[in-house]
């Protein structure tokens, strides 16, 4: 085997279990397998090993009920909220004056913007973390593949949809415009979605089910920020996809309390990984009690 071939085969075998990796490397060394054949052999074994868990229902369940729908919603919500935040930060940055804090109206507005933003960001982190955790719990052998798929869906699902940057294109291609509407949303998506998904998956793959009390507290906290963020999630779909033009409701104003909310169920969809974690924690406690009794 050539040196490069040896290096590639050695790296490819890292995708196998540690015990099997050594056996396969030993077999190749003993047979003095040529590079081309060794690559084909190891690749074949790796593919078979990676494909085997997909014969079960769990990875498909994870893919169809979590990766695709939740990845799609996370993608829209994160992009929309990141752009919204960029817009607010840009506006406050341009107009900022400490004397505003003395004005009760401005102060209330600032607090309201900060609270909405914080709730939205916390909801994103919570939904992403619970999604990663649920992916790991649903199917541990395929977790890194499904997590990668989820991240790909998050990045790709908003491709070609409406953006605030698109609406502001008449401002011209300035560096500030690019940083605010292109770089900042991507960074935010990385820190609020991708990293929490990976963190949740890592946690879920390493530990057993969560304890009931922390799970209940976590789900309640997530549900409370989700209530605040729910309208923003619905608006992100309406705006990004342009499928549901804003309905003004009886008062004739958009984004007011009486607007109809045909997509009200989206927050419930986002909460299902958290609900799954809670059910699993409860079931685990039952099993522990039964084995202890």
């Amino acid at each position: 085997m050539t040196r490069i071939g040896c290096w590639v085969v050695s790296h490819l075998t890292r995708l196998l279990d540690e015990s099997e990796r050594e056996i396969v490397r030993g077999d190749l060394a003993e047979c003095q397998t040529p590079t081309g054949r060794a690559l084909r052999e190891v690749l074949g074994l790796v593919l078979r090993r990676q494909a085997a868990p997909w014969c079960a229902v769990e990875p498909w369940l994870a893919l169809l009920t979590l990766v695709i729908p939740i990845g799609f919603l996370l993608s829209h919500a994160s992009r929309s909220w990141a752009e919204g935040a960029a817009d607010e930060i840009l506006l406050y940055g341009r107009l900022w004056d400490f004397s505003y804090l003395a004005n009760p109206g401005w102060r209330a507005d600032l607090i309201s913007v900060a609270a909405r933003m914080a709730a939205a960001w916390l909801a994103l982190i919570g939904w992403s973390w619970t999604s990663g955790f649920a992916l790991a719990r649903l199917s541990r052998p395929t977790v890194w593949l499904t997590v990668t798929m989820l991240c790909v869906v998050v990045v790709m699902a908003t491709w070609g949809t409406n953006t605030i940057a698109h609406l502001h294109r008449h401002h011209g291609p300035s560096l500030q415009h690019h940083v605010t509407f292109a770089v900042f949303p991507r960074l935010l998506r990385m820190f609020l979605v991708v990293l929490p998904v990976v963190w949740g998956a890592w946690w879920g793959a390493r530990c057993r089910a969560l304890r009931v009390v922390p799970a209940v507290i976590g789900v309640l906290l997530l549900a409370s920020v989700a209530v605040v963020a729910s309208r923003g999630l619905e608006n992100s779909m309406s705006f990004g996809r342009g499928v549901l033009p804003a309905d003004k409701g009886p008062d004739g104003f958009v984004v007011s309390a009486d607007d109809p909310r045909p997509l009200w169920f989206l927050s419930l969809v986002m909460m299902w990984p958290a609900a799954y974690i809670l059910v699993e924690a409860t079931r685990e406690r039952g099993t522990r009690r039964a084995s202890g009794a």
């Binding site: 099997e20 030993g26 077999d27 060394a29 047979c31 074949g44």
Partner: protein, 104 residues
Amino acid sequence: MQLGEFEYLMLTAVARLGDGAYGVAIRQEIEDATGRPCSLGALYTTIDRLETKGLIRTSMGDPTPQRGGRPKRMVRITPKGTQAASEFYSAVMRVSRGVAWSTK
């Protein structure tokens, strides 16, 4: 116990090799018998499947210098495996009785 053709070939190779049955030797035995290449993927996934069915048992063998100091996966057939292979062979013999190629 239902067996596939490749599973039967492997059980036969393991039984023939006895204490010397491990990955490379089994593969060589199957390739010599059938004249077809046997891939590592087919070999080790079938070994796993047969072990899950309880037809073989595997253990780690000693490392050898020609393997770069790496261990072998030794394979032994179980009584259940012997019975399954025997039933498969009997079925093949019964179904082949009287056909042109069985009388050659």
